[in-house]
């Protein structure tokens, strides 16, 4: 004869057997350790150049690559072609405080390393991730030289690219949060005569 207590403990044991594999404990060892080799498939370039790969390129080499892989969307003169969705890459110098600001790499972007990072990860639009490190350095050099940020003969590599001084390098500040003016008293209604 089974006692009711025996039945209860069998029932509780069965409950445990069911519930244990359902959810991991927060402190359980979950996930798989990864090696540096596995992580080397990824990249993200920092403004000081950390993450830049070996390689180099100049504007002359960049022009040839640009003509073949970029101009059809961004235009022969880097002016952008609206119908492709590709923005202009150069121009707009001294336009930011005017009534028609033109935000381009030349006029707006604060870091040259961002250019390398973006081309490498996202371009060309229909073949992302297909460029070699040398090609990305060359394209960066070409785009920067058209904007007269660097000279035509300058070689871009992991050492020189982070040192490029962008025209709008000092043009950004951290958002201060909700504008103080919003907390000022509402405008008084016009005085009655």
């Amino acid at each position: 004869m089974y006692t009711s207590r025996t039945l209860l403990s069998v029932f509780i044991a069965a409950l445990f057997a069911l519930s244990v594999p359902v959810q991991a404990r927060d402190d359980e060892d979950i996930g798989t350790p990864v090696t540096e080799a596995e992580l080397s498939a990824f990249f993200a370039i920092l403004p000081d150049g950390e993450g830049l790969p070996p390689g180099s390129g100049n504007a002359v080499q960049g022009l040839a690559i640009y003509a073949e892989k970029c101009a059809m969307c961004h235009g022969e003169k880097l002016e952008g072609i609206y119908d492709t969705g590709a923005p202009p890459l150069a121009g707009g110098a001294k336009s930011l405080a005017t009534k028609q600001p033109l935000k381009t790499i030349e006029s707006y972007w604060p870091y040259a390393t961002t250019l390398y990072d973006y081309i490498w990860r996202s371009m060309p639009f229909h073949e992302p991730g297909s460029l070699t490190a040398d090609e990305v350095y060359a394209l960066s050099a070409y785009i920067l030289s058209v904007g007269k940020v660097i000279g035509e003969g300058e070689v871009m590599n992991a050492q020189s690219l982070p040192k490029v001084k962008m025209p709008n390098a000092n043009g950004f500040y951290v958002d201060p949060g909700p504008d103080r003016l919003i907390y000022r008293p509402a405008k008084a209604p016009p005085a009655k005569k």
């Binding site: 993200a44 969705g85 405080a97 500040y173 909700p178």
Partner: protein, 442 residues
């Protein structure tokens, strides 16, 4: 291509099918719809009662025969839909594509005036893609967490689903929502002016849980999120935010994320601008400084009148909009109407919503239709008697900090007209004497 461009137009036409919407659209559209219907009846469906049934099922619906009296004929059997379900063939609301040249880097708007309650149906959640929508096999997808950590790890989707999860309702708003309204009233409908806003119930694992599994270094202060799409989208996120409420989400409204929303994993950062909530999330790199990616320098920064730009503007400010009546609707005659709208803030909870019927001169409290939750939308309403005279309807959101949604005049005075992002000014809808409703600036 042709299907995409037809969708919004067809949806607009088919709205006229619904008797409840009768009189809410300009007469010209009704006339055009009737003309199209009769033309279709003559050419495509001779001898059939074309007006009783739409000629083609709306997206997400199946066309069934509609009997005169549904109590006199047997209905269809269960699971004829294959087991997932469809919406009624009489429901026509769809997302609408933005008028951009390249659909791989573009956005679509949620039909705010057609959604009901506080949650956006997953299929109507607004979209913003920078490199199209990827198709990802979750069995081959990993989240890598590395950088300034003791032991870098990768987590399979199955690993993540084994961890304790949380479920929260949050809105997501594109920082470019309402960006066409800085200078002139451009958007014709509330779908276009405010439709880059959606609310879902998100389920996932807090970033803090992952942080404990890899171990954060003392100097950890930023986290790079990276997507597995063709744009390989990246943003730097302050570690404080990641640890306070950053969520690695795999669930949306009771099911897996939609592909357009980042299937199988997306980052959810409650209240922050939508582009930071990296979709198709594959990597989190812990760092001691921001990466200054394209999306936080060349894009998603706010240009001020002096030519300098505000960077790292994260939270979406308090905002609201009236969805009924709103642009391009038509009030058939004077009488009682229920003004309805949506309010939200990325900095806390909605405390209250005010309504103005005279372009902002006088304000009265609206009714909140649900209980405000942090970083979540609320519905509001106000019973209004329209006397048939021109009126300018506005709403303003007051968040729990005391912040009040600003007027457009105040916002432009502060930021100029080229800030682009984070436009949160009070929206004005002008009701004309003939009942038509239009977007105006006051």
């Amino acid at each position: 291509m042709s299907q995409r461009s037809e969708t919004p137009a067809r949806a607009q036409e088919e709205i006229e099918e619904c008797p409840c919407k009768e009189g809410m659209k300009p007469d010209v559209d009704v006339a055009r719809r009737r003309l199209l219907l009769s033309a279709a009846a003559i050419t495509a469906m001779p001898g059939q009662l074309a007006a009783a049934t739409p000629a083609k099922a709306p997206p997400g619906a199946v066309l069934y025969d509609v009997p005169e009296n549904a109590t006199k004929v047997m209905g269809r059997p269960l699971l004829e839909d294959g087991g997932y379900g469809t919406r009624s063939q009489f429901e026509t609301a769809v997302r609408m594509r933005a008028d951009n040249p390249n659909d791989m880097t573009s956005w679509s708007f949620t039909p705010l005036a057609d959604t009901i309650g506080n949650l956006t149906p997953s299929g109507l959640h607004y979209e913003r893609h920078h490199g199209g929508i990827p198709a990802i096999d979750p069995a081959k997808h990993y989240l890598y967490v590395h950088g300034l950590v003791d032991g870098p790890k990768k987590f399979s989707v199955a690993d993540i689903k084994r961890l304790p999860s949380i479920t929260r309702k949050y809105f997501i708003e594109c920082s470019g929502n309402t960006l066409d309204e800085w200078s002139k009233p451009k958007g014709k409908t509330v779908q276009v002016t405010h439709g880059l806003l959606s609310t879902s119930e998100w389920t996932g694992v807090p970033f803090a849980t992952f942080a404990r599994h890899v171990g954060l270094k003392d100097n950890a202060s930023w986290v790079l999120g990276e997507g597995a799409d063709a744009a390989v989208m990246t943003r730097s996120i302050p570690l404080d935010k990641m640890l306070s409420d950053g969520l690695i989400a795999y669930g949306q409204n009771g099911e897996a994320l939609r592909p357009e929303q980042g299937y199988p994993l997306r980052l959810v950062l409650p209240g922050y601008e939508g582009n930071m909530m990296i979709k198709w999330l594959r990597r989190l790199q812990v760092s001691d400084r921001p990466f200054m990616t394209r999306e936080e320098t060349g894009r998603y920064t706010g240009l001020m009148p002096d030519g300098r730009a505000r960077q790292f503007y994260y939270a979406m400010d308090a905002k609201s909009v009236i969805t009924f009546p709103s642009g391009e609707m038509m009030l058939p005659k004077p009488g009682h109407y229920q003004i309805r709208g949506i309010a939200w803030t990325g900095r806390g909870r909605v405390q209250a919503v005010d309504i103005s019927l005279d372009g902002g001169k006088n304000w009265v409290p609206a009714r909140l239709d649900d209980v405000p939750e942090p970083m979540c939308t609320v519905r509001f309403s106000y019973p209004w008697y329209w006397d048939g005279k021109p009126a300018i309807l506005q709403s303003r959101c007051i968040e729990d900090s005391g912040y009040v949604q600003p007027t457009r005049t105040d916002l432009v005075a502060l930021r100029g007209e080229h800030f682009v992002y984070h436009y949160n000014a009070i929206q004005s809808w002008a009701v004309a004497a003939d009942g038509s409703v239009a977007n105006v600036h006051v």
